[in-house]
């Protein structure tokens, strides 16, 4: 009997393939996600392992407030370079070397910074010790930089941008850009560093331009042979100041890898969510395709029953078929994922996320999860059609045109569908409106509500197909003649089939609509915040707008003729009320460039806190506030103001201190934004004058209000485009659903199509008929999905407390148009098949 099922599968290859496509795409996404993120993780882990491979122990700076100990602004402080001498003098230490590091961007021949998105790393190294095996930097060609005019750059940049030893190149760390002569080409460890660039200076130069005079960030230690690791670490700890820590090389590599894996895990979960959506849509497509094929095989099942097959055997044969399809499709998807991983990587690189990569990692977990998930999803989707197959009575074997019996539950259909929708709406309302529940509960409520709502709408959809098709098919019926009228009738004649096909598309369209609605709201809110706050003529940020820059660029603007105000916002981290939070700094000039609302009684100067923060911690004007900064120092301030920042975003975090205080507390202060007011406002002359003053700061970017708004929105726009691209996968899956239904329908209506041809319908008209049916189906999907999406967008927007609800009508018109195009594309193959039918054979088709 199982043999029969398998042979049946072989006999219906096209149908089996149609069913499989939906699984293939979803599983390719699952597998591709795992392959990509595993490869990135392996890239990081390989990088850090080779970075530390020559050393036994690593000494690094220690942030007193915990968190990252990378060399970033407001993070781990550097320690005195005298420590290196003390370490070298230890009895069990064979060798030790140290360096300083700071984010440093290379400046190209065009005067612009390279890798503004991926960022760059700068090191200051001791050239006398740099060839020691413990040093992570390896010289590829040339020599180490030995004076303040020399630099070494990484081999990837040298190759990509065509630089060689002897050329000059610019570099900018926390101060002004300078030009250096390339003394050598280096690499970091033995692995890829992604899109990041390297700039290596001699120690004194590094210390000077990183503002870390007399300091080191890292010491690499090699022990004498025969010394145990515990012994070495113990000895090192005895000489460490409180601002430094030591780890074994392996522990340090793991620690650094773990720091990055949080990020890769987020990418992984994010992409898997879209794989999940694609599979969910795929399960609709599979269920529908199987339902149709099973309905078409009614006679076959009935014959098997008359030959003595039990219901269980029929069930088993359908399930075996689904298992085989699911497994094979998962297998194809698994390997397709390898290709998709490369595509996803290109997508990320296009978005400015170029991460280190090892050679492709194809983990056992990827294989197991992909195969099991794809098979199980197919199996679950096949259950209902399989059960319906068992309900075929043997007598159907002798009846012509026997139909699949209605499901036993069919008469409860409408009440059940309405109850499902009601449950979904209740969950959604709970998630969106119940302020007493935790965020997690609310999001869970919304998530479950969305899934159930999709089911509910799909269940109600068969009742909506006729009225919707009548309206949406009206243009076709009106303008496309007989084929158009027949197309509309065809879309209406098996409502549950059309509904199931359209429902798959509904899910994808609903989700893109949610994204569009939220994005419109977010942008609208952000824009209104900028309009409200921005009272300057220009803003100055880093090139990518969100990493902080050195303070010198803003200082360079102060003396430009006509400049009235330059007010900067500093950014750093501190521990406040036991929690590590981001804090900002500002100066007394701030109110001249930023119009923020102050709570009555405020002095309109820093230190100030946000209204919500004040409420949470019972603070008021005059309350003392203690901040612990990474160096371990405690800063006590008295709150002089409380602000009520607009919802769309504010340049300030919850706690803002005066820049004078900030600069004493942080070793290497950096600006997030600077705002500039000039006589005469933003004019081309002023812009030119200011940019001339910024010539030595290629990492900084001067913008007018409009440009600032656009640049700051870029993040949202990028995310929006990423979401659209990823959701389009689900839409492609649902398109295959339309293809499947149409192809199977063409099979089923062969005789009818033959008759139409026999009475004079041309091939072209047949094709047009199929095309219109496809478009009507796609439009039904849009008619279901877009309102659902708008509703969900409003609810989710409300749940994440978002006052502006905007329906982006322009975008929605684009979606409807896209649905029509999608319908046309889906119809290409089925229409061609239908057009090719031989009239005589079609009439005899049984």
């Amino acid at each position: 009997m199982i043999g029969v099922a398998l042979k049946g599968l072989l006999g219906r290859k096209l149908r089996a393939c149609l069913t499989a496509v939906a699984v293939v795409l979803g599983i390719a996404m699952v597998s591709g996600t795992y392959v990509l993120t595993d490869t990135i993780k392996a890239g990081f882990s390989g990088l850090f392992t080779t970075v530390y491979q020559g050393a036994d122990a690593i000494v690094s700076g220690k942030s007193a407030i915990g968190g990252g100990d990378q060399n970033g602004p407001g993070l781990a402080p550097a320690f005195s370079e005298s420590l290196l001498q003390r370490v070298r003098a230890l009895p069990h230490v064979a060798d030790a070397g140290g360096n300083v590091a700071y984010p440093t961007l290379l400046v190209g021949r065009d005067g612009k910074v390279m890798a503004a998105q991926a960022g760059g790393l700068g090191f200051g190294i001791d050239p006398r010790h740099a060839d020691d095996p413990i040093d992570p930097l390896k010289l590829v060609t040339g020599a180490w930089p030995t004076n303040g005019r020399q630099i070494a750059i990484d081999v990837a940049t040298a190759n990509k941008k065509d630089y060689a030893v002897g050329d000059t190149i610019g570099a900018v760390a926390s101060g002004a850009s300078r030009r250096y002569r390339i003394s050598g080409i280096v690499k970091l460890g033995d692995a890829s560093i992604g899109g990041t660039t390297l700039a290596v200076f001699d120690l004194a130069t590094g210390q000077r331009i990183f503002h870390k005079e007399g300091k080191l960030d890292t010491i690499y230690v090699k022990s004498k042979s025969g010394v145990t690791q515990t012994r070495l670490l113990q000895e090192l700890r005895s000489v460490l100041p409180p601002t430094a820590q030591v780890r074994s090389a392996a522990a340090q590599a793991k620690h650094d890898t773990d720091n990055t894996s949080t990020f890769t895990s987020i990418i992984q979960d994010f992409l898997l969510a879209f794989a999940g959506i694609a599979l969910f849509v795929g399960s609709f497509v599979i269920a529908n395709t199987l339902s149709i094929t099973i309905a078409q095989r009614t006679r076959e099942f009935a014959t098997l029953r008359t030959l003595g097959a039990t219901r269980r055997q029929v069930l088993r044969s359908v399930i075996v078929e689904a298992l085989v399809i699911g497994f094979l499709a998962s297998l194809v998807g698994l390997f397709a994922g390898l290709g998709l991983a490369k595509l996803l990587n290109q997508l990320f690189i296009a978005l400015g996320i170029d991460l280190p990569k090892a050679s492709t990692v194809f983990a056992t977990r990827t294989i197991v999860v992909s195969l099991v998930l794809g098979t199980v999803v197919t199996l679950l989707a096949s259950l209902r059609p399989a059960v319906r197959a068992t309900r075929v009575e043997p007598i159907a074997a002798v009846r012509e045109g026997a139909l699949l019996p209605r499901s036993r539950l069919a008469r409860f259909g409408l009440p059940f569908a309405l109850v499902t929708c009601a449950v979904a709406v209740a969950l959604l309302l709970f998630g969106a409106l119940d302020g007493s529940a935790s965020t997690k509960q609310r999001l869970l409520g919304i998530g479950a509500g969305v899934l159930i709502l999709f089911f509910g709408v799909a269940l109600v959809a068969p009742r909506l197909v006729r009225p919707l098709a009548r309206v949406l098919g009206a243009p076709a019926a009106r303008f496309a003649g007989a084929p158009g009228r027949l197309a509309r009738q065809n879309a209406m004649r098996a409502p549950s089939r059309t509904a199931a096909t359209a429902s798959a598309l509904m899910i994808g369209l609903a989700l893109v609509t949610v994204v569009a609605v939220l994005a419109a709201g977010l942008k609208g809110r952000f824009e209104s915040s900028v309009h409200a706050l921005f009272n300057a003529d220009y803003a100055l940020t880093s090139q990518n707008g969100f990493i902080p820059t050195g303070v010198d660029s803003a200082k360079a603007l102060v003396h430009v003729p006509g400049v009235e105000v330059v007010s900067s916002v500093r950014a750093g981290e501190a521990r406040v009320f036991g929690k590590r939070i981001g804090i900002t700094g500002t100066d007394a000039q701030m109110p001249k460039v930023i119009s923020i609302d102050w709570v009555p009684g405020s002095e309109h100067v820093a230190p100030f806190v946000s209204k919500d923060f004040a409420k949470k911690h019972g603070l008021r004007v005059g309350s003392p506030l203690t901040l612990q900064v990474p160096s371990g120092k405690s800063v006590r301030v008295t709150i002089r103001g409380i602000v009520d920042p607009p919802k769309g975003g504010s340049p300030f975090t919850d706690v803002t201190i005066p820049n004078s205080v900030f600069d004493r507390a942080y070793a290497n202060p950096t600006n997030l934004y600077s705002f500039v007011k000039v006589q005469g406002g933003a004019t081309p002359q002023n812009t030119a004058r200011l940019n001339a003053a910024l010539k030595r700061f290629p990492d900084a970017k001067l913008q007018t209000e409009g440009e600032f708004e656009k640049n700051q929105e870029q993040g949202i726009t990028l995310l929006l485009n990423l979401l659209y691209v990823l959701l389009s996968l689900s839409i492609v899956v649902s398109l295959f659903g339309i293809v499947n239904t149409l192809v199977l329908t063409v099979f089923e209506r062969t005789r009818e199509l033959g008759m139409l041809r026999a009475v004079g319908m041309t091939r072209r008209q047949v094709r047009r008929m199929i095309r219109h049916e496809s478009v009507v189906t796609a439009l039904i999907g849009a008619a279901l999905g877009i309102p659902v999406g708008i509703g969900l967008g409003a609810l989710v927007g409300h749940a994440i407390s978002y006052p502006i609800f905007t329906v982006p009508w322009g975008t929605i018109v684009v979606f409807v148009f896209a649905a029509v195009v999608a319908g046309l594309i889906a119809a290409i193959f089925p229409a061609r098949r239908a057009g090719r039918l031989n009239v005589l054979e079609a009439l005899q088709y049984e």
Binding site: M1, L307, R311, V398
Partner: protein, 254 residues
Amino acid sequence: MAVVEEGAPAPAQQGTVVQARELTRRYGEGATAVDALRGVSLAVAAGELVAVMGPSGSGKSTLMHILAGLDKPTSGTVEIAGQEITSLDDRALTMLRRKHIGFVFQFFNLLPMLTAEENVLLPLSISGQKPEQRFLDELLRRTGLDERRTHRPAELSGGQQQRVAIARSLVTRPTILFADEPTGNLDSKTGGEILDLLRESVDAYGQTTVMVTHEARAAAIADRVLFIADGLIVRELQRATAQQVLDVMAGLDS
């Protein structure tokens, strides 16, 4: 030739394999209700080939469906191999079909992806039995399929497909074989060959067979012909010729 009184119950006889009593079947309800059978009783003896004849809408198909357990009567009983079948559940009916019933259909109902031989063996593989190779070979030779074993239905003519269907129905040596218009979808020459094959299987294997047909020629191979009109058995002929059958039919039509 013997004529039975209308509505008179057929006497139970020795070696009876199918016994129907007072079968009625009503479709629909109320004013639109249709009585397809209005009290039919009959018995089929072992080794007998019985043809059920009647004009369309006479109830002959309904009768066969009920006798074969495909449909349930509104009232009355059917016994196959001594077992009352109208009250059996789906599972018991399935077991009954495996053991006692063979089918030959008007549209052959072969599985298109299986070869001729695989189609023939299908009932055995469904019930998990091993085929007797000698019997299978003989069956395929007798049905003229020896050379066509590995062909799929699409590569066979209509007559050959029906031969596969007949071999499939005989392979389990069923107690009773039901043939539903077995020549209805064939040209007259091929139809004749199929009828010969059915007759031969009755003679060679003593295969008890009930055949529903509206062709006089088909009825002429039967040991006994039952004529149905308006849901009742109205005439019965023993070993009738095609002409005799036609005469009775003509009488029924008028």
